[in-house]
């Protein structure tokens, strides 16, 4: 099996790297050589590198290999991981899995994490071959997070074979199609394989700031006191479509979470699409919990363009009880991925929000 190893020749800087062909079984040796030459360049002694997790990324579309790799690079800068990226490529020969190895010390400092990435390019039909390569490259005895960076994975043979050894499966349910259809796939994934693996969803992490902000509003006793009054909810989400829009998966997930937390809201949550200049269709713009009997209301809004969210709570006569501003974290793919690997256990809130 041929492999291309992207390591700098001794003494050269990583930018001057020259791909070199080796076999997959030599990947570890070459990685070691790459670390040593990087250590020589930076003047550190690297007697030991720590590793806490294997992250196997499956990229079913070869054109997206670069963006997947850059998210992995950011993750590796803070988590010492063994990153193995498998890119499905119909152009690749079926009989060979080719590998590139890169060590990136630019993001970490001498005493901080820096990452190595092994990239395998495999023909979609080279399942067992790719699987064997990945198995051989996993860091022993450490958990495996499998990041599937494609559409619905359940029929993908490569996914099925690798999911078997994953402790956590990470997906972005938005790629399964927005709306109910996407969430359906997510539900099936949670039930998949007798629930061996925990599931992480980047789209669920996208609404983490909403969950946090809503929770923060009700940390105040005077706002919490309004809660028994609040019996309905409206969630507005962005759309750029002129025609009727299916409900955004994010809005559905948030509605699921709200219902799980306050069961009386079941069937009392309205999802409204709002045409918005904001480019991120499906994003949540406003959540209003209100009362059918009084002016009580707790509303959290995001202006869309600015980073910050604002919230206000009103009492029975409509008078303002409190108002807040919340900062909103970045929503880059790397950041969302990071949150998914931070916790490897099952996420009961996500599972409850889907039921």
């Amino acid at each position: 099996m041929a492999a291309l190893v992207n390591v700098p020749p001794d003494g050269a800087s990583p930018d001057e790297s020259v791909p070199k062909q080796i076999s997959v079984s030599d990947v570890d040796r070459e990685l070691d050589r790459a670390w040593k030459s990087l250590a020589a360049i930076r003047g550190d002694v690297m007697a030991l590198r720590s590793c806490t997790l294997n992250v196997v990324t499956l990229v079913p579309d070869a054109r997206q290999a670069g963006t997947a790799s850059s998210a992995i690079g950011s993750l590796a800068a803070v988590h010492p991981i063994r990153a193995i990226t498998v890119v499905e490529d119909a152009e690749a020969p079926e009989e060979a899995v080719r590998a590139w190895v890169g060590v990136d010390g630019s993001k970490g400092s001498a005493d901080h994490a820096c990452g190595a990435e092994i990239m395998l390019r495999a023909h979609p039909d080279s399942g067992p071959r790719a699987l064997s390569a990945v198995r051989g490259l996993l860091a022993a005895d450490l958990p495996v997070a499998l990041w599937w960076r494609g559409g619905p994975p359940l029929r993908a043979p490569l996914f099925a074979s690798m999911a078997a050894f994953a402790d956590k499966i990470i997906v972005d349910s938005v790629r399964f199609g927005d709306g109910e259809a996407g969430l359906d796939t997510l539900r099936r994934l949670i039930e998949y394989d007798g629930r061996r693996a925990a599931i992480g969803d980047l789209n669920w992490e996208r609404i983490a700031a909403w969950r946090l902000s809503i929770a923060a509003c009700f940390d105040h006793a005077d706002v919490l006191a309004l809660l028994p009054e609040l019996d309905r909810c409206t969630i507005e989400f962005a759309t750029n479509s002129v025609r009727t829009t299916p409900a955004s998966a994010r809005a559905l997930l948030l509605a699921g979470w709200l219902t799980d937390r306050v069961p009386r809201l079941a069937r009392r949550i309205r999802l409204n699409a709002r045409r918005d200049e904001h480019p991120l269709t499906g994003s949540i713009l406003r959540v209003v919990l209100s009362s059918s009997n009084s002016g009580c209301e707790v509303a959290v809004s995001w202006a869309g363009s600015a980073e910050d969210m604002s919230a206000a709570a009103r009492g029975p006569a409509g008078q303002e009880v409190r108002s807040w501003k919340f900062s909103r974290d970045t929503q880059s793919e790397a950041e969302l991925l990071h949150r998914c690997v931070d916790e490897l256990a099952r996420d009961p809130l996500l599972e409850a929000a889907l039921t």
């Binding site: 940390d219 005077d222 809660l227």
Partner: protein
């Protein structure tokens, strides 16, 4: 509608678990160094991480005349200057500033407390803090009792249980100067407070790496079986500082290294290494076990002092390439001062686990570098089967837990030197926390303030713990104070202490680890 019976259903299960009980944090000594360098940045970091209670306010109290706006700008400067602030965010700062107030007054003046009380009641009404108060006393220790007494007289401290709201008092080390003063301080504080209202801070316990000693020992099955006299030859604890006494000459003259470091930080480290596994990590079990270790240390009587304790004071020398003054030349220091700036002590813990295993503890100022570590020296392999091996090169295994400046675990073991002959050399395997967990750790003060808000005393000292430490060290302090005929200075700044410290180990056939 009874709001207090409701639980926020949205908070449950979220990863960010904030301190939910409303409270006011009142800082005595708000214009001081500790507040500026540690407390205000820690409070800001907690706000940034959304860990503060929703109903929260800070009131600074000190002598210096300041209004709210000036104290707020002090907060902004502290945040801007602190190396411990992880993410600077204007919005968080502005929101926090709105909850920050200042009252000026002399701590000895009862009318100042009337003004403070009015300000705290206003804050209760404005922020919904419900009368819950944490009084953080960041002042010279001589003021602690007077402050608590005056707080009591002003009706600001009710003993726990006497009111629906809570009052907690945080006091900084040094906690007393010796056993007698610590006992009388405890007694006086406990006239007005219950023990579970007193939070004695030793910030070492708030450090992630210090807490990791516990995880390392009690969450890993492989170390505990060898953590005893059968396998451990000796334990060395070092708390070394390269700095001198800065501008705190008069403070240090009164304190010295034993009161400043050994009585608290160093003995805390020792108790974490030597303690038995507690049944649970709740405040009572954990502190019981910690205190048991200190109580089990063989007293250093007058007879054994010469073999067990060494003191030192630095003279002029060079640190990091700079020429530095000797201790007696520092501002505020007497020319014939006998205050020790270095101490090395040998302790034995009289129990089954540790009988006859020496614990060597050293700490000093103006040593070659700033480093704190615990090194467990294991016994040599009982038999060396490698004939013609350069046995001299073989050293015992050492497990070093570094606390600062680099948080790491290092294991030293023998490995074969590649080549045709059987040569063995010691290698160090380093595990740096930074390399395993990229996440930035929180500062010790953040953790401790948060724990105090949650009412968790686990990482705070208990009166009997403080007293046990003084009981152990009082004879040393008394003997050293009485014997003024000591030839100080006895080590040059930038060296690892006086030669007697080496002899302390040499008499047992051992030597200090080279750091």
């Amino acid at each position: 509608m009874v709001a207090t019976e409701l639980v926020n259903p949205f908070r449950q299960g979220l990863r960010v678990d904030r301190a939910t009980e409303p409270c006011q944090l009142v800082i005595f000594g708000a214009s001081g160094d500790l507040t500026h360098r540690k407390l205000l940045p820690a409070i800001y970091n907690l706000a940034q991480a959304q860990l503060l209670p929703a109903a929260f306010s800070v009131t600074g109290f000190a002598r210096q005349a300041m209004d709210d706006a000036q104290f707020r700008s002090l907060l902004a400067t502290a945040v801007a200057e602190s190396g411990e602030v992880r993410r600077r965010d204007q919005q968080t700062l502005e929101e926090l500033e709105q909850r920050v107030h200042y009252v000026s007054g002399d701590f000895h003046d009862p009318t100042a407390y009337t003004a403070l009380k009015a300000a705290l009641e206003r804050s209760d009404a404005d922020y919904g803090t419900g009368g819950n108060r944490i009084f953080y006393i960041a002042t010279p220790a001589s003021l602690y009792v007077d402050i608590v007494e005056k707080l009591h007289a002003a009706g600001l401290v009710a003993q726990h249980g006497a009111s629906a709201s809570f009052v907690r008092v945080v006091v900084e080390k040094p906690f007393g100067r010796n056993l007698t003063s610590a006992r009388s301080l405890d007694k006086e504080l406990l006239d007005y407070l219950c023990e579970d209202q007193v939070y004695r801070i030793d910030h070492y316990l708030g450090k992630e790496t210090v807490q990791n000693i516990l995880v390392f020992r009690f969450a890993n099955g492989i170390f505990e079986p060898i953590w005893n006299r059968r396998y451990v030859d000796n334990v060395q604890i070092t708390v070394a500082e390269s700095l001198g006494i800065e501008s705190r000459g008069s403070f240090y003259e009164e304190t010295g290294v034993v009161r400043d470091i050994i009585q608290n930080h160093a003995l805390q480290l020792m108790s974490l290494v030597a303690m038995e596994p507690p049944t649970t990590f709740d405040a009572r079990d954990f502190r019981d076990e910690k205190i048991r270790v200190i109580e089990a240390i063989k007293p250093l009587g007058a007879a054994s002092l010469a073999q067990s304790a060494v003191r030192g004071q630095y003279g002029p020398g060079y640190v990091a390439g700079e020429s530095v003054a000797g201790y007696r030349q520092e501002d505020g220091v007497a020319l014939d001062s006998i205050t020790p700036t270095y101490a090395a002590l040998r302790f034995f813990v009289d129990n089954w686990r540790w009988a006859d295993v020496p614990f060597y503890v050293r700490s000093g100022k103006r040593l070659p570098k700033r480093t704190s570590e615990i090194a467990i020296h294991f016994k040599q392999a009982p038999h060396l089967p490698f004939r013609k091996t350069q046995v001299g090169e073989l050293t015992s295994n050492v497990l070093a837990l570094s606390i600062q400046p680099n948080e790491a675990i290092t294991l030293r073991f023998g490995a074969k030197v590649p080549g045709p002959s059987m040569r063995v050399r010691s290698v160090a395997m380093d595990f740096g926390y930074g390399a395993a967990f990229g996440a930035e750790e929180s500062s010790a003060y953040e953790r401790l303030i948060l724990d105090c808000m949650k009412g968790d005393q686990t990482l705070f000292d208990r009166a009997d713990g403080v007293e046990a430490a003084w009981s152990l060290l009082d004879p040393v302090l008394a003997a050293w104070d009485a014997d003024r005929a000591v030839a100080f200075p006895n080590y040059a700044a930038g060296t690892w202490g006086p030669p007697e410290a080496d002899r302390l180990l040499a008499q047992d056939g051992r030597q200090w680890r080279h750091l």
